[in-house]
């Protein structure tokens, strides 16, 4: 039989420095991939990268960074 936890501590707030870095970074990047940013600042064709429209490249970069945060969190044991 499992023993009950000694006292309640929130599971919604990180308990380590690496946890804070991971959650804040991911949240910022997620905000960058959501309205209003994607529908205003990022919603443009130029400047393009090798002819590929800005919005597409911008979102790809944000997605790659978000995956990077997840892998970093895993390696840090978050």
């Amino acid at each position: 039989m499992s023993q009950p936890p000694p006292q309640f501590r929130s599971h919604y707030l990180p308990r380590t420095h690496a946890g804070w870095v991971a959650i804040v970074s991911f949240a910022i990047l997620m905000a960058m991939a959501q309205p209003p940013i994607v529908h205003t600042l990022a919603n443009r064709i130029e400047p393009s990268l090798w002819g590929i429209p800005f919005l597409y490249v911008y979102l790809l970069a944000v997605y790659v960074l978000m995956i990077g945060v997840l892998i970093w969190a895993m390696r840090k044991g978050v």
Partner: protein, 495 residues
């Protein structure tokens, strides 16, 4: 040799491979229910990775996504958001689901919620929601398969016959080898679908435009309306962007075929690595889909059924062998989701309904036999649904995802300890309110004020759950300490 002969032959070669894998998996079965339903909780990283991505990506990834880029333009690149979210949810929520599942022997989402909320009513409602909304998903996949075979054979194999053949084969290897057969075939299907869509898109881009970069330049010059939000038809409003991100990430993760995969992992670390890396596969699959959809909008601007853009381009511009390989890949995408859903529904109905209420206390081989009979029943229901309707694939996927999304408050109540836990009445009332609002905001008044129905429904669900929980009896202190204690230890202790 005529293109349709090559295409159809390659699809049937692929189907033969899945049947062989089903037979081999059958010989490895132990006769144990957990082995049949949960792969013995021994799935390692590679197998689990490939079955998760194969189950997530379906006929929709091959047909619906290209069609969406074709019709609505670059807005569908929002897909990257929900695929990355799937990784994060798996990392945080999936690992907790694995931990309590392993510790307390849960086999289904309803097992987990019924134990924590101490309620058979919760078990039945969760089981019914799980089955109801994933049966819609069977319809989507089976329709996709019917389209693929019909197109590949140049109309020589009808949509109805194609659907029936592929449903029977998927059900056959599932009945033979259980989840082991599903996982093994998913490994082949994941690799095949990924290679197929990338090779197909790059070959088409090269043949039609001189390469992907030139394709993008042509789209910029000729169809700039496809390259900004909310798109030519105004679909990707901010509300739709957020709503689809939520519905197609949380909503799909909460479907039983995805949650059951968490229970099958060999370790919590496997689940966390899964969460950190699955978005690589899931997100990059939509890169070639963009090339297909946007390129298709230039060369075939007046297509009647946008979902067919990929096969139409292939038959018109690609060599027969490539068309066959890619359509077999599309078949793989649909079948890998279909077999997972058939398995999940079988597991839910066997475990949560039959074993619990109809005939408890029987030996495990009896439940395996019943599970196989249930698959036969699902086969018939899936077929009838598939040939009876013809809605757009993506609309059905979204409806399915938003339905399972209603389990979110209940699941979070189990996996995230709070000072005052939610209650069974709160969870049940929340699901009821969520489903009512979902129906209203998807069917009666679709996406009010430009906000996706999923957002309205989950908001109503959370609000109702919180209010009702405030005035009803929570689970016993022993149960809360047992389950939340396990979560605490897994996440912050020696997990």
């Amino acid at each position: 040799m005529e293109p349709w002969v090559v295409s159809t032959s390659l699809i049937f070669v692929y189907l033969l491979v899945t049947i062989v894998l089903g037979v081999v998996a059958n010989r490895r079965m132990t006769g144990d229910l957990e082995d049949f339903l949960l792969y013995g909780r021994q799935a390692g990283f590679v197998v689990l990775y490939l079955t998760v991505v194969a189950s997530f990506h379906s006929a929709f990834a091959f047909l619906g996504s290209g069609g969406f880029f074709y019709t609505h333009g670059i807005g569908f690149w929002a897909a990257g958001t929900w695929t990355v979210l799937v990784g994060a949810i798996t990392y945080v929520l999936g690992s907790r689901i694995w931990a309590v599942g392993k510790r307390f022997g849960y086999m289904t989402p309803a097992d987990m919620l019924a134990d924590f909320y101490e309620s058979d009513a919760v078990r039945v409602v969760v089981a019914l929601v799980s089955v109801l909304f994933t049966i819609l998903y069977i319809q989507v996949q089976a329709q996709g398969l019917g389209y693929i075979v019909s197109v590949a054979s140049g109309g020589r194999i009808s949509f109805e016959v194609g659907t029936a053949i592929l449903l029977v084969i998927a059900a056959g290897y599932l009945m033979a080898g259980g989840l082991r057969a599903v996982y093994w075939t998913d490994v082949v299907q994941a690799v095949w679908m990924y290679v197929a869509i990338w090779v197909g898109a790059l070959v088409l881009a090269e043949r039609l435009f001189g390469g992907p970069v030139e394709l993008w330049r042509r789209v910029v010059a000729e169809r700039p309306d496809l390259l900004s939000l909310p798109g030519p038809e105004g679909f990707f409003t901010p509300g739709m962007w957020v709503g689809m991100s939520v519905a197609l990430s949380f909503g799909i993760i909460l479907q039983p075929h995805m949650m059951i995969r968490y229970f099958t992992a060999a370790s919590g670390r496997t689940i966390k690595w899964l969460g950190a890396t699955t978005p690589i596969f899931l997100m990059t699959l939509y890169i070639p889909a963009a090339l297909v959809g946007l390129g298709g909008a230039l060369v075939m601007p007046d297509l009647e059924v946008p979902d067919r853009i990929f096969p139409e381009l292939l038959f018109t511009y690609a060599p027969a062998w490539l068309t066959g390989m890619i359509l077999a890949g599309a078949t793989a995408a649909a079948m890998s989701t279909l077999d997972s859903i058939l398995h999940a529904n079988m597991t839910v109905l066997t475990r949560d309904i039959y074993q619990r209420f109809v005939s408890p206390g029987r030996d495990e081989r009896h439940y395996i036999r019943v599970g196989r009979l249930i698959v036969l029943g699902l086969l018939v229901v899936g077929y009838i649904l598939s040939v009876g309707t013809s809605d757009l694939l993506v609309t059905l996927v979204t409806l399915s995802g938003a339905g399972a999304l209603q389990l979110l408050p209940g699941v979070m109540g189990v996996c995230f300890p709070t000072p005052r836990p939610w209650t069974r009445n709160g969870v049940l009332a929340g699901i009821g309110a969520g489903l009512a609002v979902l129906y209203a905001t998807l069917v009666i008044w679709p996406h009010p004020f430009g906000m996706h129905g999923a957002i309205w429904s989950i908001s109503a669900n959370f609000l109702t759950c919180m209010i009702v929980s405030r005035f009803s009896t929570p689970p016993s202190a022993e149960t809360v300490a047992r389950v939340h204690g396990e979560v605490e230890r897994f996440v912050y202790g020696d997990g």
